[in-house]
């Protein structure tokens, strides 16, 4: 599974209230949620992400609430993958469960600039920065998680397994 796109960078401890403020949790349609993605830090984010981007962030991305609407908003806004130095655990699980690839990659913040062109090889846990030809090793995801992502999320994965 390879994913390519331009990088948009954020700092550390980006919390779910920033990714999707609580007042939008009553919205059910993911496309509506997407309009407010990252509103707490960059209201223009949905416009920038539209064509498909990769988020690169510091430590503890997605800390805070368990709201799955946060990764959903990102996914529907056009985020193809999130690479972070580390993730808050619920955000990490939620992203996989809704089919948004995430990869933990120590040191990534220093090796990527905004708008760099990245390719993520999820299976092998490798991020390639095509703009400066750096290769960065991240943490490889276990096979069963790759399968969930391949299926497009936990529900699809479960359906496939239950109906097997």
């Amino acid at each position: 599974m390879k994913i390519s796109g331009k990088a948009i960078k954020f700092g550390k401890d980006i919390d779910t209230d920033v990714i999707l403020p609580g007042k939008y949790l009553v919205l059910v349609d993911p496309k509506e949620l997407a309009k407010h993605a990252m509103e707490g830090i960059d209201p223009d984010f949905p416009k920038k992400a539209e064509k498909g981007i990769i988020i690169v962030s510091g430590k503890n991305f997605g800390c805070g609430s368990s709201r799955e609407q946060a990764p959903l908003a990102l996914k529907y806004a056009g985020v193809k993958c999130v690479i972070a130095e580390s993730f808050a655990r619920i955000f990490f699980r939620n992203s996989i469960n809704i089919g948004l690839p995430v990869i933990e990659c120590e040191g990534i913040s220093n090796l990527v600039n905004n708008d760099d062109d990245l390719t993520v090889d999820l299976l092998n846990g490798i991020v390639q920065n095509n703009s400066n030809n750096q290769i960065i090793n991240g943490i490889k995801l276990p096979q069963f998680i790759i399968e969930i992502l391949d299926d497009g999320g936990l529900i699809e994965n479960l359906r496939r397994r239950i109906n097997k």
Binding site: L25, V28, E39, G64, S66, R67, A88, R93, N97, I162
Partner: protein
């Protein structure tokens, strides 16, 4: 093994487990609420099974935006009521329960040694009763409803050994804020945080809940405290399960911890988490001349009877400053009713505070007490992120019920020790 490992070994049918190991665990209780529940229901319907794995084990609580603050919220509540009815699940509706993390322990759904998942990040609160409890998202909750199981990575553990005596009007909230300030918002990411030591042994369940509640604010997977006689006393009359195994559920003497941190609280001052970071913690003496517009006492962190008693002690016979809107929200209907019987509600209303019905209230900026641009709130809740309580340009400071009550009186952030109580 430490207590978390013991619980996870049992729940995955193993003799022992080690940190880093991925296990398939059975789930004892799953909680969903009005904001995470509707997505879970939608996802559950897509899986293609008709019934939840065990209707006794899925609990629905309406608490975040109750009573419905909009038609959209009303529709979501309707979805949850319908689902609970179809699946014959226990549902705590408006006026019958309160904040999920208060209701589950109160109603006896949380037992020591069990595995509890909730579609809410503060599910870690239940570790106060010696359960392994952690938050998950909606889709995962749907999968648990279908299977009764979840994969979990056994967390590494940090032990906090806490000694000393609290000074007057210094509380468990000040302790946990201090700890988060020391360890940082990512200081315990993916990890289990075990609280122990003489202070914890003497602490009430309410105080223990405040500690475990905020474990997630340093990224922890769970917070946990060994169950003891205090735990047993709290549970008696709330559950008909036998509580025999409580005494045996302890971390082994040779249990492995990644880190053991010793703390002494004897010099601890009341603490404040400055906006907009939970780990931006300083003693109250460093909060100079911060005028407030709103004071909020409530939430799953500090809306319990003990918290309200403390606030009432400070507010008794006094008036809150004219320029301060003071909101007090008992964490549950039970807490409300006890506070009423003890005369606390009267103390609050006479002081000029507004007491609202049990719900999450302004804690997550859903409704009741949102903040306008440039406004400042001091709050007993657990998060002060940008935009958490309304406007992105508002500020939230976190503190104990004593500090919030004292600040309501003076109109600026105030050390409760300086207010006669």
């Amino acid at each position: 093994m430490n207590i978390t490992e013991k619980i996870l070994a049992k729940s995955s049918n193993k003799i022992s487990v080690k940190s880093g190991e991925i296990i398939d665990s059975k789930v004892d209780i799953l909680m969903i609420h009005d904001l995470t529940g509707p997505l879970a229901v939608k996802a559950f319907e897509k899986i293609g099974v008709n019934k939840v794995w065990n209707n006794q084990k899925v609990i629905v609580v309406l608490d975040h935006q109750i009573p419905a603050e909009s038609i959209t919220a009303a529709e979501l509540h309707k979805t949850m009521r319908k689902f609970a009815k179809e699946q014959t699940l226990k549902i705590y509706d408006v006026g019958k329960g309160g904040i999920c993390h208060q209701v589950l322990p109160e109603k006896g759904h949380v037992l020591p040694g069990t595995v509890i998942l909730g579609a809410d990040s503060h599910t870690c609160t239940y570790g106060a009763l010696g359960a392994f409890a952690t938050g998950i998202g909606s889709t995962e909750a749907a999968a648990v409803m279908a299977t009764g199981k979840i994969w979990l990575k056994v967390p590494e553990a940090i032990k906090l050994d806490i000694h000393g005596e609290f000074k007057k009007l210094v509380t468990p909230k000040d302790l946990i804020l201090h700890i988060i300030g020391k360890l940082g918002a990512d200081g315990a990411i993916y990890k289990s945080v075990e609280f122990s030591g003489p202070i914890i042994e003497k602490m009430s369940i309410a105080g223990r809940m405040t500690l475990c509640n905020m474990a997630v604010e340093m990224g922890a997977k769970n917070g946990i405290i060994e169950p003891d006689a205090t735990t047993r006393k709290f549970l008696e009359g709330r559950t008909n399960q036998t509580l025999d195994s409580i005494n045996k559920l302890k971390s082994d003497n040779d249990a492995f911890y990644e880190k053991i941190i010793n703390l002494n609280v004897k010099d601890l001052e009341p603490q404040i988490a400055f906006s907009p970071r939970v780990d931006n913690v300083k003693p109250v003496s460093e909060a100079k001349n911060i005028e407030i517009n709103q004071a909020f006492i409530g939430s799953c962190t500090n809306g319990r009877l003990q918290d309200l008693r403390l606030a009432a002690k400070i507010l008794k016979g006094k008036k809150v400053k004219d320029s301060v809107r003071t909101l007090i929200i008992p964490a549950s209907q039970e807490v409300y009713s006890d506070a009423l019987k003890e005369g606390l509600i009267e103390t609050f209303t006479e002081a000029g505070a507004l007491v609202c019905g049990s719900s999450c209230g302004p804690c997550l900026g859903g409704h009741i007490g949102l903040l306008a641009k440039d406004e400042i709130c001091i709050s007993t809740s657990n998060r002060n992120f940008i935009g958490r309580m309304g406007s992105k340009e508002a500020k939230v400071f976190l503190a104990s019920p004593a500090t919030v009550a004292a600040s309501a009186i003076t109109g600026k952030i105030t050390n409760p020790q300086e207010i006669e109580a």
